[in-house]
């Protein structure tokens, strides 16, 4: 490849460690390299994923049979609170950020993030936020009012252990990390793109991350305000949410869900971006409807701020308010749902290669459709009045968070692992992992729809022996352990592949975006030279142009 675009080296922001020197752990801790930080984000996510998963397994043991005495109510309530909080804030978000900070610079032809040191700061503050949250277990008890922590249950008079104070502080800290990462990603995309890469030529993953960062910046202030008010209530006897002193129970719900619903999109848009890379590469075709996929993510980001009260249809806001939020929630379903057909159309007429990454992407299409359809059920207010706060919701949200976010992230892991390590993530054992995970996941959550319809509320530490409750819950618990086993297998596959995986080479998938133009793993300085970018698939375009044309372009 000929030298076309000069990419400046990030000289000022180095910590002074040479490329070749291997300082072990110290090198990782002190690194400001976006690739090392990206990998550390992914390890943070995996670390908390294992913890949050163990909490879930213990909960499923308690629920395996009616009237079990495995965990008491206190422990159970702390576990389900920590499970939700962990999975959202310390698994989904770090995983999304991990892929974002690793691949956004690579995909736009940059050698670093805009603010490398802030990047490291974001990682560590997020990690410490998580540790602080978990410190609550030894400091008198973990938070126990659910991950959305409703008032006035979150007040000192109803939850007197310090868990909720740790919840508030932990989330405030990691929230700082999320906000700084978003700023960092926005500036990187705006400022660091390689010459000629207009915004309408961005790879869709970058585009989604870009839109997502704005979404995050707009959503987090509401959470942070609510958390600060909560801390004031608990520490200084303020009365924002304290209903015995005239505070409002519903104010917390509004503030939380103005953040909370966009948050759902925050953890699904980047996986949408990953899938929009994976489908074209393994179908050997460009994405179907690039503009629609890109623009609809903006529509989702805007609409996401007008749907929060669909979490509150049962609090008695009145038919007018409920109808408005019903309409807006249905509306946001359209740009979200139509993407499924964009991806199907991308596959249509292609030459599909069934790698593990593609298999997760294809499975996502079905799983996410189930989660999306049960989501539509909740936008129909009368159905919501029956099914909200039941196991039907538990099923729905797991089909969205696992069937959507996690499946997307696994597709990304198998797709990008060769780039990050230089080794292929073993496809053969990978397929075992895929099937085990898919079967376990569906066994766990499919039956929970039925439990909801049969009247089982969520967040109960035990239940009476009503018809079908025992057997359905037992199926669910069995599925959960299959999932647990599959995660063990995944950890083994990762370990084995890192040790003695097949060499990947620069571009094992024959993919079209710029991260595949450098070595695997990329050197500290990502690129020395790159081809001219003419569309969202620069390497493909480059391959298609004949040698004389290339020369012409280089001179022109």
């Amino acid at each position: 490849m000929a030298e076309i675009v000069d990419i400046p080296e990030p000289s000022t922001s180095f910590p002074g460690l040479g490329v070749s020197t291997d300082q072990g752990l110290l090198q990782w801790i002190s690194s400001v390299d976006h690739k090392m930080i990206g990998i550390m984000y992914l390890f943070v996510a995996l670390f908390f994923f294992v913890i949050g998963g163990l909490e879930a397994l213990l909960m499923r043991v308690q629920l395996a049979w009616p009237l079990m005495h495995f965990l008491g109510p206190e422990t159970y309530n702390q576990f389900f609170t920590m499970h939700g909080t962990t999975m959202i804030f310390f698994v989904a978000m770090p995983a999304v950020f991990g892929f974002s900070v690793y691949f956004v610079p690579l995909m736009i032809g940059a050698n670093e993030m805009a603010f490398p040191r802030m990047n490291a700061f974001s990682l560590w503050i997020t990690f410490f936020g998580g540790l602080l949250l978990y410190f609550s277990f030894v400091a008198g008890g973990a938070p126990d009012a659910g991950w959305f922590n409703y008032a006035p249950l979150n007040q000192k008079n109803y939850s007197s252990n310090p868990g909720i104070d740790y919840y508030a502080m932990g989330l405030l800290l990691s929230g700082i990390g999320s906000v700084t990462t978003s700023i960092n990603l926005i500036v990187t995309v705006l400022h660091k793109r390689i010459r000629n890469m207009k915004l309408n030529k961005l790879p869709l993953f970058v585009w989604m991350v870009f839109v997502n960062s704005f979404l995050l910046l707009a959503a987090f202030p509401s959470l942070n305000a609510a958390l600060a008010m909560l801390l004031m209530d608990r520490q200084f006897h303020a009365h924002f949410f304290n209903t015995t002193n005239g505070g409002s129970a519903l104010l917390w719900q509004h503030l939380f869900w103005i953040f909370g619903h966009p948050e759902v999109y925050i953890v699904i848009l980047p996986p949408f971006g990953i899938l929009s890379e994976v489908f074209p590469v393994f179908s050997r075709k460009p994405i179907f409807g690039y503009s629609f996929v890109a623009v609809s993510s903006v529509a989702i980001a805007l609409l996401a701020f007008g749907v929060w009260a669909h979490h509150m249809f049962a609090v008695g806001l009145g038919n007018t308010v409920d109808s408005f939020f019903s309409a807006s929630s249905m509306l946001i379903g359209i740009p979200t749902g139509v993407k499924i057909f964009n991806w199907l159309a991308t596959m249509y007429g292609g030459k599909i290669k069934f790698t593990v990454s593609m298999m997760f992407a294809i499975a996502f299409l079905v799983e996410f459709t189930i989660g999306g359809l049960s989501g539509i059920a909740f936008s129909i207010v009368p159905i919501d009045w029956q099914l909200t706060d039941t196991y039907y919701v538990v099923a729905h949200l797991h089909y969205v968070f696992i069937g959507g976010t996690i499946f997307g992230l696994f597709a990304g892991l198998f797709y990008w692992f060769p780039k990050m390590t230089g080794k292929m993530l073993d496809e053969k054992t990978g397929k075992w992992f895929f099937w085990l995970f898919v079967i376990g996941f569906n066994a766990t959550f499919l039956v929970q729809h039925l439990l909801g319809i049969l009247g089982m509320p969520r967040r109960v530490y035990t239940y009476p022996d009503l018809p079908w409750y025992g057997v359905l819950n037992f199926i669910s618990t069995t599925g959960a352990f299959l999932m647990g086993a599959s995660i063990l297998l995944l950890v083994y596959v990762i370990y084995k592949s890192m040790k003695r995986g097949k060499e990947a080479g620069n571009n094992p998938w024959d993919a079209a975006t710029l991260e595949w133009a450098t070595t695997s793993p990329p050197p500290l300085k990502n690129f020395d030279e790159l081809p001219l970018v003419e569309g969202p698939r620069p390497l493909w375009d480059w391959k298609q142009t004949s040698a004389p044309e290339r020369e012409k372009k280089e001179q022109g």
């Binding site: 008491g72 006035p152 460009p286 249905m330 079905v366 189930i370 029956q386 039925l450 967040r459």
Partner: protein, 328 residues
Amino acid sequence: MEFGFLFLGQELGKGLILLQSITNPASQQAERINRVFNSFNIAAAAMLLLVSFLVVYICIKFRTKKGDSSEPLQTKGNTKLEAVMIGVPALLLAYFFYQTVVIERAVAPAVDKTMQPDIIITGHQWWWEVEYPASKVVTANEVHLPIGKHLLMEMRSADVIHDWWVPELGNKMDLVPNMNNYLWLDINKPGNYAGACSEFCGAQHAWMRINVIAQTQNDFNKWLALNQSNAKAPGDALAMAGEKLFQEKTCANCHRIQGTAANAIVGPDLTHIGGRQEILTGIMKNNEGNLYKWINHPQEIKPGAHMPDFILEKDSVVAIAHYLIGLK
């Protein structure tokens, strides 16, 4: 998928009449909701079948054949197809939005706040206070309601947010502190309908279950008349001892027994506790032995409940339990 569940639900419903399910509606409100749930399930099942079919078809038809290394046709989009992809779901959703608005108005019409509600439910951690304002009857946990009447229920909370939900009777409604909510209910047929608090409300959220006993107007009136009366006087020496202990020990600080000096409203009203089917919102059958177990060691039976373990002699507990079970 959804449709499959629904179908299964109905099949189960035929075999077990008492199966608690939103697909076995027993009130006009639940029937309306069940109808839209049915049509939603059909649309959702069609959508899921379409996606599943396309996934399978495309995966089989367009898999890479062995030895084929050519690249497929590079189509980038099709505006007309995209318009259809947006248009069809939009039309479906428009239909369901129309249904939403219609059913909202039918199930939850506006409430004239000057009206006296037929029944006032107050949520407590972790029991239900039930009041019939017209007859001044107060009871707990077991909610007797007449069938065939257009009932207005007022929902209040004494502490945190709770949620009233009886699947066969329709929509749920939150009980929010400092805010009165209302629920309309027209029950169609007599029976026992199980429900549960559906908003997480603390340690014993799981044991805040509801038992609605729907009765014909006649039976309901009889029950109401019985519960309007003062508590029965103790019938034997042991029960008399129990009454004395109830008033002298801490019981009377929290509980009310109409017609005696016990007049506190912190815990459930016990005036006619002997007539209830279950205690502790469904943890145990109501009998003398279980009352003994509960009073003897509340924190073992319902850990976290606001009734602490008392230091009482065994004889005292026996007497109190005997006294209470006699309060039919």
